[in-house]
Amino acid sequence: MIRKYQQRAEQDVSGFKSPADDYLEGRLNIVDRLVIDPECTFYFQMDSNSMKTYGLRSGDLLIIDRSMKAVKGAIVVAYVNGAFHCRSYETENGRPFLKGDTDRIETTDGEVLQIWGVVTAICRNTLPSQLRKGDYERVCTL
């Protein structure tokens, strides 16, 4: 995936030529590490603590890639029993099921487990509440 890099400000106002001018590279952009394919990426939010042992907490931002095929051990989002569930994808005797901290979600016979997308990364805001103000208020976990 080719992404555009932000253009750096060029210092031609003061006439001062920075010796670093010839060596500028695009600054690191966190999106490059979190989003694999922007056209296939969607964002959901974790709204329960049923995946705590997997390191997911309520409020975490889920980055979901639909282009990926779920394999054993992948964290996925699936629509089952009338709600979107974020769980670990497991198989047993070739039959897929979803696993959380304490629960196990299976489909009944004949029903296909419809995986909506694979969770590729999570984002969490670590700021304590007194620092979550202004620009930082909605960072990552909203």
């Binding site: 394919d37 056209e39 296939c40 969607f42 964002y43 959901f44 939010q45 974790m46 709204d47 329960s48 049923s50 889920l62 639909r66 282009s67 989002v77 629509y79 009338g82 709600a83 979107f84 569930h85 974020c86 419809q114 909506w116 909605r138 909203l142």
Partner: protein, 414 residues
């Protein structure tokens, strides 16, 4: 070879993507102001709901079949459409986006279409969650036809040999053919022509005489000779218009100007995005033509600007002055619109001999407003004359969320 890729029941499918509980259930999407049906799922089609049916006339059917109703959520459809098109563009050397849910793809000398096309389809369906159908044929008209067949037979249809084409057109109803409108259909029906197979057996002269140059092109296209070129040069914009019906009738000039301010600001935004300025600005008002008991008034006026402009201040000021002049007391207005014509390129500004020019001060201001609105959401900075109550605002009672565009509206998973 041309490929026509079309999303199945696009708006309904987009709503279903974020609410899979709707799968297998009838879904309809209503037009702006929740007026008419503009999209239906297969199930809704089977309930007998027709395209363009006014919502208030089919309320009983909607209730009886427990149809899920949505207001049109163009914020969502626009984003999903972009994802579908960008996914398609990865597969085709050239892609011409034909409408929000359709695109013509050009497949140069690609071999083995029978494996490639289903692969493209599967990938787009998986990556975007929107079901698409792909029809492939040597001409655009036949690709359209193939696409219609694909919709009913597994999602893909490839007509790459004369035999396959002959077989497909033999049973294809002529009324579903691209380019055959109601008028032509009536004419063909009276001649006893029901299938495209019969139609294309008619001599070329017949097409020329009865259907003009378009008909001659159609005849060639039906025989597999491409007459409509692959054209992905966007047409140059000739006019930019923003018009909407009101929720209720407007009978007060100040309220009318609020609505016109909003439409004019949108038109100005559109102009700036297209890099254009307008030289003429038309404002029109409509009363409800279906109410014979109401007095009718359809005024319209086109104002010529001294200097072509695209900044919100100029456009809104003119639109409001014109709207106020057009307004007549005692009329119940149902709709208003702003149309910008005489479009010139932003950079090619012709100044006026006798009019002072502010040197683009207001242009810079509009540019700044656009930047703020891009970062903080549409309408963050707007003209105060838009008002605050906006009781005339479009009705959208059944609007779904901006699942892919607004952080506070994303889906929550448990």
């Amino acid at each position: 070879m041309f490929a026509l890729c079309d999303c199945n029941n696009f708006y309904a499918s987009a709503e279903r993507l974020f609410d899979p509980a709707l799968n297998g259930k009838p879904v309809v999407v209503l037009s702006n102001n929740d007026g008419c049906v503009i999209a239906r799922s297969e199930e809704a089609k089977q309930c007998g709901i027709k395209m363009g049916d006014p919502e208030f006339l089919i309320r009983d059917i909607l209730k009886k079949h427990h149809v899920n109703i949505f207001s049109s959520n163009y914020v969502l459809y626009g984003d999903i459409s972009e994802r579908v098109m960008k996914n398609l563009a990865r597969w085709f050397p050239r892609l011409d986006v034909y409408s929000i849910d359709e695109a013509f793809g050009w497949l140069g000398g690609v071999q083995d279409l029978q494996t490639l096309i289903p692969k493209i389809r599967a990938s787009v369906v998986m990556n975007t969650g929107i079901p698409v159908s792909i029809g492939v044929a040597p001409t655009k008209t036949l690709a359209k036809l193939a696409n219609k067949i694909a919709k009913k037979s597994g999602g893909t249809m490839i007509l790459d040999t004369p035999e396959a084409i002959t077989k497909a057109v033999a049973t294809f109803p002529v009324e579903d053919l691209w380019g055959v409108g109601r008028q032509y259909y009536k004419k063909l029906e009276s001649l006893g022509i029901e299938t495209v197979g019969q139609l294309r057996e008619l001599p070329e002269m017949w097409f020329k005489q009865h259907m003009t140059i378009q008909g001659q092109r159609m005849w060639n296209e039906l025989w597999g000779r491409a007459a409509i070129p692959f054209d992905n040069m966007p047409e140059t914009t000739k006019c930019i218009s923003v018009s909407r019906s009101f929720r209720n009738y407007i009978e007060d000039p100040t309220v009318l100007c609020e609505a016109v301010t909003l439409y004019a600001s949108r038109a100005a935004e559109k102009l700036r995005r297209a890099g254009l300025r307008c030289l003429y600005l038309q404002v029109f008002l409509y009363t409800n033509e279906h109410r014979e008991d109401h007095p009718q008034h359809y005024p319209s006026h086109t104002h010529k600007l001294a200097i072509a402009s695209n900044n919100t201040h100029d456009i809104v000021k003119i639109a409001n002055t014109v709207a106020r002049a057009l307004f007549m007391h005692g009329m119940k207005y149902r709709k208003a619109g702003v149309v910008a014509t005489g479009l010139v390129h932003e950079q090619e500004l012709q100044l006026h001999l006798f009019k002072p020019h502010d040197g683009g001060k207001l242009d810079l201001l509009s540019e700044a407003i656009d930047r703020v609105n891009l970062a903080y959401g549409r309408g963050t900075l707007r003209m105060a004359s838009e008002g605050y109550v906006k009781s005339w605002r479009l009705k959208h009672e059944f609007l779904s969320k901006g699942y892919t565009t607004r952080w506070h509206e994303i889906i929550k998973a448990v």
